[in-house]
């Protein structure tokens, strides 16, 4: 299993859609074969279409508000001693998280395909909120599938979705979280694929959805590359790019331009959700060595039992609370290009507290997992090491959880 240089990772799969011969694919019911094939052809065409690219760049700039800033966290750096800590503040993007890139691209594709309805899944509510925003912007009717448990714990984002005119469909089956939302969304698409476009909220699902999402979030690392060069005059020699990983869309977007670099120069570190310290449950298939399995149309490392039933997951962060992970991250793990670890709920909460105490930054619980790792390793590293954390979401949505757990107002 080997990574290729000079080819975007989203295109390094074989003819059946597998990365490294075993991750990904399209395990879908027959009914979805045609709509998936149509979407695959459309995307192939659009990504080479200059007019479409111009449109994408226009909306990325004027609607999403790129580039998001790249800042040094001086106080945190000084406090910890050791490596410099920087943040790519992706949460500045319109809507408050990286999910807006994928949502915008899907809305544009939906328009291009002449479909009027768009549906999507959401965990933390960001994917849903952004899809509802993009749908409103482009005049599409929008339905969002969300686990009943997540609807309760991420209320601010639900309010936003409703305000944007989207219908939230609560999902009561299974664990009532993201995994069930994705299943229900796929079921809905099976029944309505003739007039409805489906957006998968992360780099998961059947091959084409992994690709579209990765293609969309890659904007983050394109910006960062330019920003690094302008800040340091060249790409520095010791960089660590730390990103949380649930499905893995922000991490892929944050890393895509840097995968070709030697890992001694640019280390890629993915931080999964370790769940509560005292719980056996987690959402960390990569770092806790889960076996390969098939979920939602793709093969990936997967939290499952020996029979192949999908395990319940547990995390304080709804956005990371997913038993599977992007096949591209499985590939990056097995080729040893990226290193994966996890942070517990408590570590993420502590990190959130520390970052907000020292910096004018309010990372949501998802990137707080990444900050936890940065805080852990920074003191042991040299001062010329540049740690960059993708602060990919804003904590406004976590208001209720933070109040409960940290007494925050």
């Amino acid at each position: 299993m080997k990574l290729k240089k000079g080819i975007p990772l989203i295109d390094q799969h074989d003819q059946h859609g597998f990365w490294g011969g075993k991750f990904g694919g399209s395990f879908i019911p027959e009914t979805l074969k045609k709509p998936v094939e149509d979407l695959t052809n459309e995307f192939k065409k659009l990504r080479k279409d200059k007019k479409f690219l111009k449109k994408r760049d226009f909306y990325f700039k004027n609607y999403i508000g790129t580039p998001t800033s790249f800042v040094k966290l001086d106080n945190l750096t000084n406090h910890l001693g050791g490596a410099q800590i920087w943040a790519k503040v992706v949460s500045e993007a319109n809507g408050g998280a990286h999910k807006i890139y994928n949502a915008t691209v899907h809305a544009l594709i939906c328009k291009a395909m002449g479909k009027k309805y768009i549906v999507g899944d959401t965990g933390a509510g960001y994917a849903g909120k952004m899809l509802s925003m993009a749908a409103k912007k482009f005049g599409l009717k929008c339905k969002i599938f969300m686990g009943a448990k997540d609807i309760k714990r991420q209320k601010p984002n639900c309010d936003a979705m409703r305000k944007n005119g989207a219908e939230i469909v609560p999902v009561y089956s299974g664990s009532q979280t993201l995994v069930d939302a994705v299943s229900e969304c796929m079921r809905y698409w099976v029944s309505n694929c003739d007039n409805t476009h489906m957006c998968v909220g992360s780099t998961v699902g059947p091959n084409i959805f992994v690709k579209i999402c990765g293609w969309s979030t890659a904007q983050i690392s394109r910006e960062l590359k330019v920003q690094l060069k302008s800040e340091f005059k060249k790409i520095p020699n010791k960089i660590k790019l730390i990103n949380c990983v649930g499905g893995g869309s922000s991490a892929y977007g944050f890393w895509s331009e840097f995968i070709d670099y030697d890992k001694k120069q640019i280390e890629l570190i993915g931080v999964e959700a370790g769940g509560p310290q005292k719980s056996k449950l987690h959402a960390a298939p990569l770092s806790r060595n889960a076996k390969i399995g098939i979920l939602h149309g793709a093969a990936s490392y997967l939290c499952q039992n020996s029979e192949g039933q999908i395990n319940d997951t547990e995390s304080i962060s709804a956005g990371l609370d997913y038993p599977g992970v992007s096949p591209m991250h499985c590939f990056l793990k097995d080729t040893k290009r990226a290193r994966y670890t996890y942070a517990t709920d408590e570590e993420a909460l502590n990190a959130h507290q520390m970052v907000t105490k020292f910096e004018n930054l309010n990372p949501s619980l998802e990137p707080s997992h990444a900050f936890a790792e940065a805080i852990k390793i920074a003191p042991k590293l040299s001062k010329d090491t540049i740690i960059i954390v993708n602060s990919c979401g804003d904590a406004k949505k976590d208001r209720d959880i933070l109040r409960e757990r940290l007494g925050k107002k």
Binding site: H16, G25, S26, F27, I28, P29, E30, T31, L32, K33, K34, P35, S173, G174, V179, S183, M186, R187, V190, S191, N192, C193, D194, K291, G293, I294, L295, H296, G297, A299, Q304, S306, E307, G308, Q309, I310
Partner: protein
């Protein structure tokens, strides 16, 4: 020699009616009960489909989900599914049984081991919902080698060229999904339209047995009786749920439904 599945269709044809296929979930609501149900309904059904339950069934509607969750909650394991099948076949050796489920369960069990176990349990066929053509080519070939029918699914969205290839690669039976829906959806396409599409599939190769499934209930079954076979699943699972809720005998109630279904297509 012709397969049991083939013979079941021939038999129905000789009686001038479609074959009746039932779907129940193994272990719903217990291992013992599901075997009893299976044995009892097989007096009226021509072919029995037995689902091996998965907790993330992306193509199933509410009724079958409920049955699957119930079975898993009651501790059903894949080896129990095989033992139900084996037990059933020891009593009803001429009644074809088809296992149906999602690929991850087979993948975790190991494809070869799974098929070996199917053979030992005398399973006649397999339907794998999320392993479409052409990705299923290898596995389908393995099935054939073991004398197990791999049943291809086709749907209203299947293109002409694709349809040709799938039929060419199919074994004795093809499963036509009546409409864009998960299992148990309300029949939203007219029976006339469904049969029109059905005939297009049938005309490609008359020797293949084509069954129609999804949305078939006591109300709709008669209108589709021109097909080679008709599958009823959700309506049966729903009756199991009802019987449990009302504390009635699920075996009797489900058998009565299947009996009524059969009477409608004679």
């Amino acid at each position: 020699m012709s397969s049991l599945i083939n013979r079941a269709f021939q038999n129905a044809k000789s009686e001038n009616r479609p074959a009746l296929l039932t779907y129940t979930v193994a272990g719903d609501n217990t291992k013992k009960k599901s075997l009893e149900i299976l044995k009892s309904i097989s007096n009226y059904a021509d072919i029995c489909e037995l689902g091996f339950p998965h907790n993330t069934p992306i193509a199933d509607g509410g009724q079958i989900q409920t049955s699957a969750y119930r079975a898993i909650k009651n501790g059903i394991k894949i080896n129990d599914v095989f033992s139900i099948a084996k037990d059933f076949k020891s009593k009803k050796k001429d009644k074809p049984i088809i296992l149906m489920g999602y690929y991850n369960m087979i993948f975790q069990y190991n494809e070869n081991k799974f098929l070996e176990k199917c053979k030992k349990s005398k399973v006649d066929g397999l339907i794998v919902v999320d392993l479409p053509y052409p990705e299923n080519k290898n596995f389908a070939a393995k099935c054939k080698k073991k004398g197990i029918n791999f049943i291809q699914l086709v749907s209203p969205t299947t293109s002409k060229i694709r349809l040709k290839k799938i039929i060419k690669d199919s074994h004795d039976m093809i499963y036509y999904i009546s409409m864009l829906s998960t299992t148990g959806g309300k029949l939203k396409v007219s029976p006339k339209k469904i049969l029109e599409r059905y005939r297009k599939i049938k005309n490609q190769n008359k020797s293949k047995n084509v069954v129609i499934g999804f949305g078939i209930t006591e109300k709709t079954i008669k209108s589709l009786k021109k097909a080679d076979g008709l599958v009823v699943g959700s309506a049966i699972c729903k009756e199991i749920s009802n019987s449990i809720n009302k504390r009635q005998n699920a075996v009797t109630n489900v058998t009565n439904i299947v009996k009524r279904l059969k009477n409608k297509i004679i």
